[in-house]
Symmetry: D2
Amino acid sequence: MSHHGNIAHMIEAHPSKGGASNDKLQSLLESLHECAAVCTGCADACLAEEMVADMRGCIRTDLDCADICAATARVAGRQTKPDAQILRAMVQACQTACQRCGSECDQHASKMEHCKICAEVCHRCEEACRSFLGA
Amino acid sequence: MSHHGNIAHMIEAHPSKGGASNDKLQSLLESLHECAAVCTGCADACLAEEMVADMRGCIRTDLDCADICAATARVAGRQTKPDAQILRAMVQACQTACQRCGSECDQHASKMEHCKICAEVCHRCEEACRSFLGA
Amino acid sequence: MSHHGNIAHMIEAHPSKGGASNDKLQSLLESLHECAAVCTGCADACLAEEMVADMRGCIRTDLDCADICAATARVAGRQTKPDAQILRAMVQACQTACQRCGSECDQHASKMEHCKICAEVCHRCEEACRSFLGA
Amino acid sequence: MSHHGNIAHMIEAHPSKGGASNDKLQSLLESLHECAAVCTGCADACLAEEMVADMRGCIRTDLDCADICAATARVAGRQTKPDAQILRAMVQACQTACQRCGSECDQHASKMEHCKICAEVCHRCEEACRSFLGA
């Protein structure tokens, strides 16, 4: 609650904004931060599973997706002197990472609650990236 | 809202937890993620200020605090085979970073809304670190 | 020296490798790590310039490029259960970031040694990404 | 080679330095960047081991150490408006992380070449942190 509020407030408090809101950006940033945190948690939960040997692909993709979402959140969150080419390339890479990680977690979602949550969050972030790029 | 929910859900969904909640950890993680995002935003907003030359110290401390909060969130978020020494050392470093960054932003809070928000978030995260270490 | 040696040794020591070298990957990783470090340094050096107001675009692009190179180094450095789609998308985004950041630093290279070094390193990393994608 | 050269060059090219070298800082930064890269590689190599279930603690500590070294490299690499309290707290946390990760990898060093390399690199980075703090 306060978290979402403050990300939104920071977007609005930027000198270039004059207090204007930016719903698309806010929605993207919230999805990216959530996905980075949840993928880090899913990698860790998979590592604790008894069948960890079967979770290697999921752990690896979770780690990749967490790193990519975190970097994308930083790039997209900066509003000073933006470079549209870098931003678009990075959001596209993030969309791909979220799609792939969501698909991987889908395969384990029926057995593992953490993969079920992670799949949902990844697919939502994938959609936020797509929506942002289409805007 | 969904963000907070999912961070909490991931903590509970970890194989070692059996669905138990962990309010101290959840509160710490939320504060750390928020502070990392807000400090990244404050550094960027300071950079766009007309008086950017006066904001060098704030930009630099924001960047440090963002990096430290993000790393601490990853370390604290992992529940598999935790190492108490690493965790404590890192949360202590984070408490220091948040205290220092909050103090720096306090100095600009009356003139810049982004520093006002950032100061509040830093001090809340500092307190979350202190509370976690005392638990 | 020891740095380069150990990145190469870690690639060869991976269980899937059987001690085989991978020159393309090694070269990419070295470029990515170097570029992440140098862009972080260039952003910081630009911030200390008397004409910091004129360096806003360079600082911002340096920060983006540092974040993207660091994330790409992590993704590319993982050899367990690789996902070619994520890897390619991320290296492409990194190539774009290095190209853009190199061009930005080129504009200041005649006046600032740090931008001259950063431009060279970015263009070398851009080429390492292109070469890796073409392999 | 070029990597080490350019990290050193960036330190010297900072406006506050006037071309002066800083051997302690350069040595710390090289150790931190190397350790972050090698720990990321060791976590990935451990994940591919047949006995991955026995490597959970090592993977987790590698991931922590990689995150902490990477953040410390960023903080220590910034020379504009440094905050000695943040820097010392972070280098101390990093020293602890490297000591713990080096000890963990020591236990597997006789059987796994990647843990042998990682243990050496962690202990060298631990020593670089200690030396920097004592300077």
